[in-house]
Symmetry: C2
Subunit: 242 residues, 2 copies
DNA sequence: TATTAATGTCTATTTTTTAGACAATGATTT
DNA sequence: AAATCATTGTCTAAAAAATAGACATTAATA
């Protein structure tokens, strides 16, 4: 990130809860920072003066995942009093002055209280090519169930994002964003079970999904298992997304 | 408002859609500004450096209504590119320099692009004592159905707020915030009909509401009408609000 | 060819929602 | 004092939706 404070809106940030799905588990994209201790954060960034906030969020996401077209939606603003990124501020204080980074500007930037707009994204984890952002030691998919303690209110951000996801998964049929192009009914059901953390009865789940009229049935897939081969399905492209 | 830009977060505002209910109609609190043309806006303001954004919203609301305890919830961030309050900026440009107001600071403040956090409130319209804010020519309850064109995206803000209200009215049982302390089943039904803009069958509406187990039945009220007197109800105080 | 485990779908049951009906009641009229 | 009238409270019937149970089908293996 070339830091140019005049091009950014001060005291306002964006943080993204990026959900993925793999082998029956919901994953969240988390960065580990390049510091002495292990510090974890959600992917985040700032809003350029001329950007729509949705564009900012997409840009922040593309930097980390390489994805351009992503399901991404704001879900909540985090604005408690005195909400500051003390750990990052600390990091800059400890930097040597001659490190080539404009230390003073950064320090001034991060010394302020920030309000953050929370976005959540649903991505096909196989389409993502992870890219470290500046100051990231690594960026990885971590299990939603066992996230480490993160910076500031980032754990709470995940909680609220999951709540929003649960509310919208049924209503808006957005779950397909987490799956590959084609999938079996069982995979879809396992996704739902992972999101809601509870089992669904197989027969009625299938009926409900088919009755939605948004799935296109494709060929059977022969998995090699000693049983009836399941159909593959695809989300119908001709559905209006609203 | 004593303007002190250093105490406020720049480029970030709060706008409130305040819903009331009177005689079968949903009302919205709207200010008319003290300008040559009629300019209408939602109640809004800014966030003090040390404030939780929820506090800011409550403060903004109390200034206009005198109410301290109000149902108030953020529902969406409005952050399109180049979102500026040109009309207010224009107003300051036309002000005489010696008007006692720090014209230059205001001009600088409003020349920037703003991101706004949308809140909606539900109030008992009878408890409100309206107070003009600075620059308001008047502030009034206007019919939701026939709002005038407002500044910037304020009409869109109302649309989204109404959508949020509809989503939560059932689920969260927040409708009682719009009614007086006690009310009849018919009044409650008429409120629902106003919010959803459609009729509900009387028998099933009553059953559904009573089955929620949140209403306390009080005495009958003798209205003087030549028919059976309805019971009064009150929202049970011992319900957890989450 | 029999066995096994998962799949696709059907029917039965239960629950919830919606529709229809009617007695009860408070004031007014006769 | 009795009849009328409009609204209220609640009951039952019908329809729809959700849940549970059952079973034939099928792809690989024994």
């Amino acid at each position: 990130m070339e830091f140019n404070e005049e091009k950014l809106i001060p005291q306002l940030s964006i943080d993204c809860v990026v959900f993925g799905y793999k082998e029956g588990r919901i994953k969240v994209l988390v960065s580990r920072l390049n510091l002495s201790e292990d510090i974890y954060t959600l992917p985040g960034g700032f809003i350029r003066q001329e950007e729509h906030i949705d564009e900012s969020a997409h840009r922040i996401l593309e930097e980390r995942t390489g994805l351009k077209e992503v399901f991404l939606e704001q879900y909540r603003v985090f604005g408690v009093a005195n909400r500051k990124n003390d750990i990052i501020l600390d990091m800059f204080e400890k930097l040597p002055t001659e490190s080539g980074i404009n230390k003073e500007n950064w320090q001034n930037w991060f010394s302020k209280r920030f309000v953050s707009v929370g976005y959540y994204a649903l991505v096909d984890i196989n389409k993502v090519s992870l890219r470290k952002s500046e100051f990231d030691a690594e960026i990885n998919w971590l299990d939603l169930e066992s996230l480490p303690q993160m910076i500031m209110d980032h754990n709470e951000m995940v909680d609220f994002a999951l709540e929003s996801l649960r509310e919208k998964l049924d209503e808006k049929l957005i779950g397909f964003n987490l799956l590959p192009e084609t999938f079996t009914m069982r995979q879809l059901q396992e996704l739902y079970e992972a999101v809601y953390d509870r089992p669904f009865p197989r027969n009625n789940f299938q009926k409900k999904m088919l009755d939605l009229n948004v799935l296109e049935r494709l060929d059977k897939v022969y998995t090699g298992a000693a049983n009836k081969a399941p159909y593959l399905y695809r989300f119908r492209k001709d559905i209006k997304s609203s």
